[in-house]
Symmetry: C2
Subunit: 287 residues, 2 copies
Amino acid sequence: MDPHLLRTFVAVARLGSFSAAASELGYTQSAVSQQIAALEHDLGATLLLRRPVRPTDAGARLLEHAGPILLRLGAARADVARLSGPPSASVALQVTPLAALDAPALAAAGRSMPRVALTVGVAARDEVAAAVATGAADLGLLDGVTAPSDPLPLPDAGPLTTRTVAEEPVVVALAAGHPLAGRRSVRLADLADARWLDAPAVATPLPQLRALARAEGFRPGLTYSGSDRATLLALVAAGAGLALLPASVVAEVPAVGVAEPRLVHRTELVHGSLTAAARAFVAAWGH
Amino acid sequence: MDPHLLRTFVAVARLGSFSAAASELGYTQSAVSQQIAALEHDLGATLLLRRPVRPTDAGARLLEHAGPILLRLGAARADVARLSGPPSASVALQVTPLAALDAPALAAAGRSMPRVALTVGVAARDEVAAAVATGAADLGLLDGVTAPSDPLPLPDAGPLTTRTVAEEPVVVALAAGHPLAGRRSVRLADLADARWLDAPAVATPLPQLRALARAEGFRPGLTYSGSDRATLLALVAAGAGLALLPASVVAEVPAVGVAEPRLVHRTELVHGSLTAAARAFVAAWGH
DNA sequence: CTACCTTACGAAGGACGTAATTATT
DNA sequence: AATAATTACGTCCTTCGTAAGGTAG
């Protein structure tokens, strides 16, 4: 199961086309066809249905493995490169939208090191973690909601070092006229049948909400795919649905604390092995 | 980074010899030398020091990734095979030593299916999980200690289905004359400086204990590498050290409950996608 | 001098591109 | 008919084994 073949398989499945995958990967259509045939022969199973191109059950199963495998392979390569490569004078940082609220601390740490070029990018949590694991970023700043004693769940791409930089209560943001407005606190599970706002980039994604509440439900009323906090709050205020957010983000909108289960919103700084510049940056973070 | 090369690299590092790895893998010494050279060239780093053969820093880092990568690759292959292969009339089960306490339920489930051949093997938790992930076993029965709401931590080899079959309080087993004997309960962190019995196969391994207590310490007084419960209890009774165990296992020996953090000992039945025979077995488990 | 890793070299196999073929819409 | 995957085939590159060469203990 050559990673090369796996990469091609993933591309074909994603694009739904041999030829499109070929041009994306810089192969001929024929080469891609041969690679898929080789993979199918190796595994002894048909992985793709043709015309239209779409994964079989076995292929879908393989896809679930292929991503993590390719990610870990990249992480291994990056890890070795960091240990044996030349030190860099620049620091690449990736942050999730809400973690960017720590911008003041970030800017301060950046100012304290005038000699290093600092690059900041914004992405979803798994992407930030993947970037750090594969060395595309030196540092990640990511946020999420968990039980107080649990770490934020990250895709398993090897050992990453994690440091909590902020932790605060979570609240359910809601519209002013909502029946729950004014309540002191609620149990998350009691809100399973409420109308939720699905904003995976900014608020807690609904699948995670189900896992945290250990309950089904939490159906999306409206989906907001952007990453702007003000827009999200405006939508909540307009009654589009509930959103689980860190307390400090919710200002202009009523909110109710969550009593059960016990949850916190945490911002973590995560990195693999560091270059000297990145290490200094992490040290400077603590002021 | 061909998995083939990775496998060879792991073998060489483990055996500390190119020639030994060659004979284990069925290559000539020369082929192994060329494979390692190819891997080092690909990654642009020296991975092994020669004479004596031992990993460099970069090589050690790569080793941390190689195991999980190879495991996941095997899991992917097994998963595809299960979905497209022929149904089997036998069920292979792997259990951890303490999970074997569920033997009555196990035997009952086996008896209820006279037509299928049932194989049972005993191994450590990670090995059981790896066997299930790679398809070496259909079902795993494994045990461990965690927070009540957390699943047992398993090596990440893809999505496995998990079902709790037993859950009970944990206690610290100790010798009759121990100062703590008679106490109602203790906080785990308060025992960091006590003398512990390191019995990774039967009791909670000490590194895990440190993680659960979120404290350093828990130094081993004596290490018991066997997997026999009676021997373990005899050692505890003889004052060799403390052991964190499920309550039901501790009978002849004094024990103290753990108040903080809240912990349980859980036994879980875990499997990937199931053959018909294995599925019936799982169903029969519930009587 | 001896065990053991590396290098040289040739043969076998594998991978990719071009081009012809087949199959689906 | 047109679009798109497969097969045929030649070339190049890779990989392995045999055998010779180096090197550390």
